[in-house]
């Protein structure tokens, strides 16, 4: 019996089909971003416990007014210097005795924060502040925390904090994840993110 040959398929129209699909995807694509600054809001007002008094020196006031000007501790400051100022405040470690911070590398100014555990950054914005300015300030403050955590993680575990978090989400990570999670918690507790946001201040004319 003669072997029957499989019929040849004409592939000439393949390019046309591919073009059609390509154009469909080109038109329907919206390269959507799913990245952003994650934050956790404070609990609802009724569950909110009365504020514990914070010493003035442990408070870092960041204010944004209605014309997008940045004020830190009531003095105007350029956005580029905000990160350095926040790091200097958080890492100050001015406390003595019980509040002594052994890992801080700051100036140890007794007039600035005692310990990273006590240092609170307060961000106040006006109702008229622009969103992009607000995001820029948030970003700088978050990066101040990230830099300090990176430094401590690098000192203790030889990895940056970002790498540790990256490994935690990596399915191919070979080490123990429970151990990694504990290490991350420990670094977080060295520099806890204490960022308080008050209600926006209304403009007084």
């Amino acid at each position: 019996m003669a072997r029957r040959l499989a019929p040849q398929v004409n592939a000439g129209s393949m390019a046309d089909i591919a073009f059609l699909l390509l154009i469909f995807f080109l038109v329907s694509t919206t390269i959507d971003t799913d990245y952003g600054i994650s934050r956790r809001l404070p609990p609802p007002p009724e569950k909110f416990q009365p504020e514990i008094l914070i010493k003035e020196k442990n408070l870092f006031r960041v204010e944004l007014n209605q014309i997008n000007e940045l004020f830190v501790e009531k003095k105007p400051l350029d956005l580029k210097q905000l990160k350095a100022a926040a790091i200097a405040f958080l890492d100050n470690g001015g406390g003595t005795d019980g509040d002594y911070c052994s890992y801080c590398k700051g100036a140890r100014n007794p007039k600035s924060s005692d310990h990273p555990n006590k240092a609170v950054i307060s961000l106040i914005n006006s109702r008229e502040t622009n969103y992009e300015t607000y995001i820029a300030v948030q970003n700088e403050l978050v990066s101040a925390y990230a830099e300090l955590r990176d430094r401590e993680a690098l000192r203790i575990y030889g990895l940056t904090f970002k790498q540790m978090v990256g490994y935690l989400n990596d399915a191919n990570y070979s080490g123990s994840k429970t151990k990694l999670r504990e290490q991350i918690k420990e670094i977080q507790s060295l520099y806890p993110e204490k960022l308080s946001e008050a209600e926006p201040v209304s403009v007084e004319l």
Partner: protein, 158 residues
């Protein structure tokens, strides 16, 4: 003389289009992979600000989207003030609570703490409106939020 001319003409290279489908397929696959099908049609301007300390929103189905911005050019009839968009409709600040509670209810109970609200806010919006939204979210105990941004230096914002 005429002969030599003819010779030159015949030597013009003919380029092969055989690899064209391959190139097209390559592009096609790129767009297929990069495409995120958007569930909601945007009715507001949504130019996101830049930030670089960003985290990725991993679980796509555990995200509640809230869009905020000025109505886009097709919807000029609703005014030029910044508006909130939930699903495919313009909404007011009071609609956020029922919307979020509805979204929470539609997810299985065990996964509810993982829900994240993604705030996609146009960069020219005033913070007053965002503050109101955050207050509403706090009241329904929807506390994980994500200010969705583009990745880039913050100095790009100015």
């Amino acid at each position: 003389m005429s002969i030599s001319r003819k010779k030159i003409k015949s030597e013009l290279p003919v380029f092969s289009t055989a690899s064209l489908p391959d190139i097209v397929f390559m592009l096609l696959f790129f767009f297929m992979v990069a495409t995120v099908m958007r569930n909601d049609t945007l009715m507001v301007d949504n130019e996101l600000p830049y930030a670089d300390e960003v985290e990725k929103l991993d679980k796509k189905n555990m995200v509640i989207h809230i869009y905020v911005g000025k109505p886009s050019s097709r919807y000029k009839n609703v005014g030029t003030e910044a508006k909130i968009q939930l699903n495919d409709k313009f909404a007011s600040i009071e609609d956020i609570k029922p919307f979020v509670l509805e979204e929470i209810k539609s997810k299985p109970e065990g996964l509810r703490p993982l829900l994240v609200t993604s705030l996609k806010v146009d960069k020219n919006t005033k913070m007053g409106l965002i503050g109101d939204i955050k207050k509403e979210l706090r009241e329904v105990d929807m506390r994980n939020i994500n200010y969705t941004t583009k990745i880039g230096e913050v100095t790009n914002n100015f």
